[in-house]
């Protein structure tokens, strides 16, 4: 690997894993996603330097996420009850966020990716569309669908929690 690429890999690795973690919901998958995306980036680089490596990596990670989810689409979290730990005072907000985090993992991967790009990266619909190389309309509908799904899951989770403990 030449110096320029090695610097890119070292410089971006941790930050990419953090971003991938938001997509995958767990760290091993996040590391795997980042390594595969970087390997692909390096292979592509041999033919021609990539103009915007960050955009390339982000797009590759989303595409890998979607194709893997497709290949393993039946692999699900086998808990019917979302995480709801008994915790000391002051933690109820965090528990609620755990529920939301669990709900986010059940949003279909492409919609989840759009939500992460929008609400973590703060990108607009047009920027996300350019990054993922799809139309703005697609992003708009996936964002709406993702939010709608999240809302339903969130409400169902909160209802479920109330049902179990109330």
């Amino acid at each position: 690997m030449d110096d320029e690429l090695a610097a890119l890999v070292r410089g971006r690795y941790r930050d990419l894993v953090r971003r991938a973690y938001l997509l995958t919901g767990n760290e091993p998958d996040a590391q795997d996603l980042v390594q595969e995306a970087l390997a692909r980036c390096c292979r592509a680089w041999r033919h021609r330097p990539i103009e915007h490596p960050d955009a390339y990596l982000q797009r590759t990670m989303v595409n890998l996420l979607v194709s893997r989810a497709r290949a393993q689409r039946l692999r699900e979290i086998f808990t019917n009850v979302v995480p709801d730990h008994a915790v000391p005072d002051g933690a109820s907000e965090r528990a609620d966020r755990d529920l939301l985090w669990a709900a986010l993992q059940r949003v279909p991967p492409r919609q989840r990716a759009v939500l992460v790009l929008r609400f973590y990266e703060g990108l607009g619909e047009r920027e996300i569309a350019e990054l993922l190389e799809v139309t703005v309309g697609t992003i708009r509908s996936q964002s709406a669908k993702g939010l709608q799904r999240l809302r339903r899951l969130d409400i169902a989770a909160v209802d479920g929690k109330a049902g179990h403990h109330g």
Partner: protein
């Protein structure tokens, strides 16, 4: 930004701060991965070359013999494979045709396997995408179809999930779109079915009167013979006030509704697998919804109608195939408690279908092996892989 959106923003900001464990030098990790890929490519190339040599050296006769032996475990009357090099490549769903042929949906194709084991391409070029309506289905493109169903006239309906469409392949082999304009969105009641948006249709079933029922991400719709779409159940965001359909059984929150899998029994009742909450419900022909079973994991293609009119359930959570007769659910085969001899991993059924001669076909979801494949069980209880992806 509403309350959920701001919670989401806060959550993501917080989770992004999770410390990343240092597993070594990133450059070394990435280089190792690049080498791994390289070796795999070399290995595949070497295998292909060796195979070509063997095939040329021994001629087709050997291959035919070998193919017949392999299939012998499940097909009573194997015949030589066709001259084409058609082979199965994964599976997402199965259905049995009137003549006992098995239809298999793959990532971008539909393949028919006749009772003698002969494979025939029905639809799809093997390249995922959309196109080819109005012409031969074998030249058309599909994209990640999740379910197939067969109409009373022999039409094959394909839930062409990633194309946001349902395709129909008529007995003469031409393909058309039955539902969906390709846009992802909520179907609009009363519109021509080909003009409406639909969101990732994942299940399809044909009613006794020939209407086609389709489950998508949050709705159940029906396409009548005049080509109009009717929303049967829509359990959308209650704030938009668009919930349509019968009232839900108390055990099921309308918010969690999806129609992951569908099948009609002989009485005309529609069974609906709601995967998001692992529940099976029944929409009676009179239009009421009742709960059939909770804690049941049914994926797209996981329900099918047996030749006797009962419902087969591929219950992947319990590694079992169940049958529902007159609303009573019983387990037929459990792959955990009775492991299949010669198969080292548990079979996790993602889809199931039964042929008129009592043969059961099942898609193992590939959880254990990395690639889904089809298995067959004879009425006598003998198991074997229908095809194994190398």
């Amino acid at each position: 930004m509403d309350e959920l959106e701001s919670r989401l923003e806060q959550l993501l900001a917080e989770r992004a701060e999770v410390p990343v464990a240092a597993d070594g030098d990133p450059v070394a990790l990435v280089e190792r991965r690049m080498r791994r890929r390289h070796r795999r490519v070399q290995l595949v190339a070497a295998c292909a070359a060796a195979l070509a040599v063997v095939a040329t050296g021994l001629g087709l006769g050997f291959a035919t013999h070998f193919g017949a032996q392999r299939r012998g475990s499940v097909a009573p009357h194997p015949t030589p494979p066709p001259a084409s090099s058609l082979s199965l490549n994964g599976a997402s769903s199965v259905a049995v045709d009137r003549d006992g042929s098995l239809l298999i949906a793959e990532a971008s194709r539909v393949i028919r396997r006749s009772p003698d084991g002969h494979l025939q391409l029905i639809a799809g070029t093997g390249v995922a995408g959309f196109g080819g309506d109005g012409a031969s289905a074998t030249l058309a493109q599909l994209n990640n179809p999740r379910d197939i169903a067969i109409g009373h006239d022999g039409t094959i309906y394909v839930a062409d999930t990633a194309n946001n469409r349902v395709r129909a392949i008529s007995p003469d082999g031409t393909i058309r779109t039955l539902l969906g304009n390709g846009e992802q969105g909520d179907p609009v009641d009363g519109q021509p079915a080909v003009d409406t948006a639909v969101s990732s249709p994942q299940s399809v079933a044909v009613a006794p009167n020939g209407d086609v029922y389709v489950g998508e991400s949050s709705d159940l719709v029906r396409v009548s013979s005049d080509g109009i779409v009717h929303v049967v159940i829509a359990a959308r965001d209650p704030s938009s006030g668009t919930a349509i359909g019968p009232s839900f059984p108390p055990s099921l929150s309308p918010l969690a509704f999806d129609a992951s899998s569908l099948a009609f029994d002989s009485a005309g009742d529609l069974y609906i697998g709601v995967n998001s909450v692992k529940t099976l419900i029944r929409l009676s022909s009179a239009g009421t919804l009742t709960s059939v079973a909770a804690q049941i994991y049914v994926s797209p293609g996981g329900l099918s109608t047996a030749p006797d009119g009962s419902i087969l359930v591929a219950d992947y959570g319990d590694f079992a195939i169940d049958r529902i007769v007159e609303n009573h659910l019983s387990t037929m085969t459990a792959f955990i408690s009775t492991p299949v001899s010669g198969i080292a991993h548990p079979l996790r059924p993602a889809a199931v279908a039964e042929s008129p001669d009592g043969m059961l076909y099942m898609v193992d979801d590939g959880e254990a092996t990395g690639s889904p494949s089809v298995y067959a069980i004879s009425p006598g209880g003998a198991w074997g892989p229908l095809s194994v992806r190398k």
